[in-house]
């Protein structure tokens, strides 16, 4: 059996935010070494402020690495977001002045794809995300979960090969998050894309991911990488699998001390 192809690689990546007036430089991330295998679902968990989102932005090319190299499909990522990478952010990034249909078509229209193909892909993405009946609605008429689905549909139509999800369900309630998790799994299976999910929810990471990187408090580094060994055909019902508890337990063992450190309980963490 051949080893899975490396799709994206972070080698010795660090990110230090330069000093600003009255503030010292902030070492936010790294050094980080990570190989994302083509087609895998990789989750990243860690305490608040550990640099999870910084990791995603460096990988996407939204922020430069201070040291180390980032490569996507063998090409170095530097300065710009490479073609083939799609990002869904935690914040509501839907465009309130456009309908759901026009939101979804936004990126595609810019790429010069002909109108027939735009219509086909947008209709398909909306049907896939369960938004077909809301195509003419404006984001303000939708719930938070539906708006996030609009953003996912907008990313999906561009057929990205690497999808980066930055806590996309952070603002949603627990039940909606489970259901959205199912949708992301369906999306992942259908597109065959590599997915990197940033989340603070251990259960979400355990349910969705093939591998999960547990990060330390700032500067964020991987303390452990947990392989879930879930089958590709999985859904949110795996939360009742006994191994689910073992995985979340292992993640929490790694993160408890780090979370306390990030909250300022350094002494307690050492005990």
């Amino acid at each position: 059996m051949t080893a899975p192809e490396v799709h994206a690689r972070l080698a010795g990546v660090t990110r230090v935010y330069p000093a600003t007036a009255g503030h010292q430089p902030v070492h936010a991330l790294g050094p980080i070494d990570l190989d994302l295998k083509r087609g895998e679902f990789f989750g990243v968990v860690g305490p608040s402020g550990c640099g999870k989102s910084t990791l995603l932005e460096v990988l996407a090319g939204l922020q430069p690495a201070t040291a180390g190299t980032v490569t996507f499909e063998g090409n170095r990522v530097a300065g710009d977001v490479p073609d083939g990478i799609g990002v869904v952010f935690q914040e509501d990034a839907s465009f309130p002045w456009l309908t759901v249909w026009d939101n979804t078509a936004f990126g595609l229209r810019r790429t010069g794809v002909d109108d027939t193909e735009v219509r086909r892909r947008v209709d398909d993405a909306l049907a896939f995300m369960g938004l077909k009946d809301f195509a003419r609605a404006y984001p303000a008429q939708l719930s938070g979960g539906m708006r996030q689905r609009v953003c996912i549909a907008r990313t999906l139509v561009l057929q990205p090969r690497l999808i980066l999800l930055d806590e996309p369900f952070g603002a949603l309630d627990a039940q909606t998050r489970l259901l959205m998790g199912d949708e992301v799994l369906r999306l992942w299976r259908r597109t065959g894309a590599t997915v990197l999910l940033i989340t603070h929810a251990l259960d979400e990471a355990a349910m969705l991911s093939d591998r999960i990187g547990a990060m330390s408090a700032r500067p964020g580094r991987f303390l452990d990488i947990v392989e879930t060994k879930w089958p590709r055909e999985r859904e949110s019902t795996i939360v009742s699998d006994p191994r689910f508890g073992e995985i979340t337990g292992r993640l929490w063992d790694n993160l408890r001390g780090e979370s306390m450190k990030s909250l300022g309980y350094a002494g307690m963490a050492a005990e």
Partner: protein, 252 residues
Amino acid sequence: MTRVGWIRLLVIVLAVGALELACRAGFVDHRVVIAPSEMAAALWRMIAAGQFTGEMTRTFGIVVAAVVIAIVLGFALGLLIHALPRVREALDPFFATYYAVPIFIFYPVLVAIFGLSPVPILLMGVATAIVAMIIATLNGLDRVPRVLTKVARVHRMGAVETALKLKLPAAAPYLFTGVKLATSYGFIGVIASEFILSPAGLGRVISDAYADFNNPRMYALILLLLIVAVVVNTGLHAWDQRWAERRGIRKP
């Protein structure tokens, strides 16, 4: 019409009715205020006779020109100032105190430079309106969510495309507030300037009618200005509300 709309209309009808009754019953001196029905009749006669058509064209033409210039220039300056944070920091105190300055004191200076032409009136209108548009532009651009900038980068959009396709539409509700304010201020600036010092225009005619105790003429023109101002502002307000509702923004 909504229930609030009906209440609003009822308040206006009651106020006009009360003034009508008070004037008819002799509670209000006819030499001070005439009945609203007399104002309307005088206005109708004036329009039917084509009286002051030239003055109306001149005044409303200057108002439109002043408002358009203030909106376009104010928006452009707002964009420029927003892109230069240090300049903005330096200018912020001036913007904050701008409307505390009685800018009409500069009218004689403008007359000295441009003569008794429509230009000083136009400039007074622009000067009154432009800062509202600059402030609204800065406010709107400040409120563009940062995530949209990231979305633009993910879509590999350039600075101009980001500004036109994302920042401008995102800031539009605040820009529209600037448009509404600039329209109101431009209107006030032009009419007030004409009233004080201009040799022509509706403001001048009202001033002359006041000096001549010509109440029907004075009140007819006041009514005309009120109607125009209310219709324009109601139209802009309705448009603003429609946009805001679509975006889920609650505006009073």
